[in-house]
């Protein structure tokens, strides 16, 4: 892999940009690999990357049914934060956020991490108390957050209306090092680094079956034939249940549609991320000037990658009260992704009933922010066969044992 640098740009400028190499290779699959990861989204590619970097396992294939980063990695609102209430959540999301800080340098690929600051508005007294509790929990967890009053909110977000008739802004949970990153670049950066380590990324190659022998996984059937492996990692988000079925077990997961939308581009007007959980909406401004808006999920099982129209209307109707300027904006495009929701709204990273088969799923509506931490934890699990400290609490058997990591109470919708 030739490194990207200012000298590379200068060199290529002198020869009409003829010398840029492809960011990742598209090789023919080998007959078998030490590890196969199903799903070349952010989480799958990050898992492969840390398998190579932290554990020296580079005979790895990442198999993707579509194109890499084409699922939820390319469909989210790019928000990064770690202000979670529960300790296991705060640990893995803060690990991810910390890795994002230096990810561009590490991958030699600009993921445009922008720690612009993130506010979660408190618009009811209940929320004020809830966020004060989160701030204290974060202090104990080593996550830097603070509770700020309405005056400070106004300073940070000049376009906000503090005294809305239904939900006045009473304060906010502020994480100064939260922010956004370029979602596609995260997948592309990891893919390039994986390819440089000699790993294979097999796109347009759906997995159609999981083979096992004596209770241990032996490989996967794909559109390009059988591919053998010692270890299998299932990291596919929306279709986790389908992959689990191929591997012969069930998951406590349901797939629902989550939508987001962007407005027409406008001049810079908001340089932080604002989440308003009471009214189910969150917003940031992209580098292109579009207001990026996310809302709640549909309540019913859905694999169509599009959501119900009234949810967009609900989200905007609610946000207009807090951001009156939105009422004059035209909305440019809308899209949906399939997210897999668990019973306690926390992810699953753990062993499965099938030997040497591991699963990473259930990130629900908040997977993008976790990509580096999730990959780190999943790689540790796959390399050692046992979960490390980051993943231990997120095991699949927690639902039977009642060890929930209940973020549905702590975070409401925008989680």
């Amino acid at each position: 892999m030739r490194r990207y640098s200012v000298f590379a740009i200068a060199r290529e400028a002198l020869r009409w940009h003829q010398g840029w190499e492809r960011a990742w290779a598209s090789p023919e699959p080998r007959a078998r690999y030490d590890a196969i990861i199903v799903g070349a989204g952010g989480h799958g590619l990050a898992t492969a990357y840390y398998l190579g970097k932290n554990h020296g396992i580079t005979n790895v294939a990442v198999i993707e049914k579509g194109w890499l980063g084409g699922g939820n990695t390319g469909r989210n609102t790019t928000i990064i934060r770690s202000n979670y209430l529960q300790d296991p959540s705060a640990a893995i999301y803060e690990k991810a956020r910390a890795l994002y800080e230096s990810l561009s340098q590490e991958l030699n690929y600009n993921v445009m991490f922008s720690p612009r600051g993130l506010l979660m508005l408190a618009q009811t007294h209940h929320e004020v108390r809830g966020y004060l509790r989160t701030v204290h929990a974060n202090a104990l967890q080593g996550v830097q957050t603070e509770f700020i009053g309405p005056d400070r909110v106004r300073q940070l977000v000049p376009i906000i209306r503090l005294d809305g008739p239904r939900y006045p802004v009473l304060g906010a949970l502020y994480q100064a090092r939260g922010g956004t990153a370029r979602h596609d670049a995260v997948a592309w950066g990891y893919a390039r680094a994986c390819s440089a380590m000699g790993m294979h990324i097999l796109q347009n190659c759906p997995v159609t079956g999981v083979r096992s022998e004596g209770g241990r996984v032996t490989g996967v059937d794909t559109a390009r034939g059988f591919i053998g492996c010692d270890k299998l990692g299932i990291v596919v988000a929306g279709h986790s249940g389908q992959l689990a079925e191929m591997a012969g077990f069930r998951l406590p997961v349901e797939a629902v549609a989550l939508q987001a939308l962007v407005s027409e581009p406008v001049k810079p007007c908001m340089d932080v991320v604002v989440m308003a959980n009471t009214v189910h909406g969150y917003m940031s401004q992209s580098d292109k000037g579009e207001m990026v808006i996310g809302g709640g999920t549909d309540g019913f099982n859905n694999f169509t990658q599009r959501g119900s129209h009234q949810h967009i209307e609900e989200t905007l109707r609610a946000l207009i009260e807090t951001f009156p300027m939105l009422s004059r904006l035209k909305m440019l495009r809308q899209w949906g992704g399939i997210v897999d929701m668990t019973g306690d709204r926390s992810p699953i990273i753990g062993k499965t009933p099938l030997g040497n088969c591991f699963i990473n799923c259930g990130w629900g509506t908040g997977g993008f922010k976790a990509i580096p931490g999730s990959g780190w934890a999943m790689a540790e699990l796959m390399a050692r066969g046992e979960p490390g400290p980051l993943a231990a609490a997120f095991s699949l058997d927690r639902f039977r044992e009642g060890r929930f990591i209940d973020e549905s109470v702590a975070a409401g919708v925008a989680h």
Binding site: V253, F300, T304
Partner: protein, 107 residues
């Protein structure tokens, strides 16, 4: 927009008039059941990409619960029936088989 016909009042209700209630025909587990049975009842879901039997409530109408057979991959609705039905009725199963040859209800 998803439109389901309420089997009680016969109204073709739009999605905004209804509230979804998750998978139907779950086997309830009570006191004395094993941890595994409780996990299955509380958390394990079929979550099919295809035919799904589910609970809905006609919230902004008659207010009653009913069941629906719907495809999660295409949003096609095969029919609705009253909530007191312990298993999907034969006429709904026939409609599904006509539209999805080879389909079988998962155990």
């Amino acid at each position: 927009m998803l439109i389901l016909t309420c089997p009680y009042c016969g109204i073709a209700a739009e999605e905004t008039e209804l509230a979804p209630g998750g998978e139907a025909h779950l086997k309830r587990s009570g006191p004395g059941s094993s941890d595994q049975a409780f996990e299955d009842y509380l958390f394990a879901r079929t979550n099919p990409k295809g035919v799904h039997f589910e609970r809905w409530r006609h919230v902004y109408g008659c207010g009653r619960w009913f069941l629906a057979a719907r495809c999660t991959a295409t949003l096609e609705v095969f029919g609705t029936y009253p909530a007191q039905t312990p298993a999907p009725p034969e006429d709904i199963l026939q409609k599904i088989r006509a539209r999805r040859p080879g389909w079988e209800r998962p155990a």
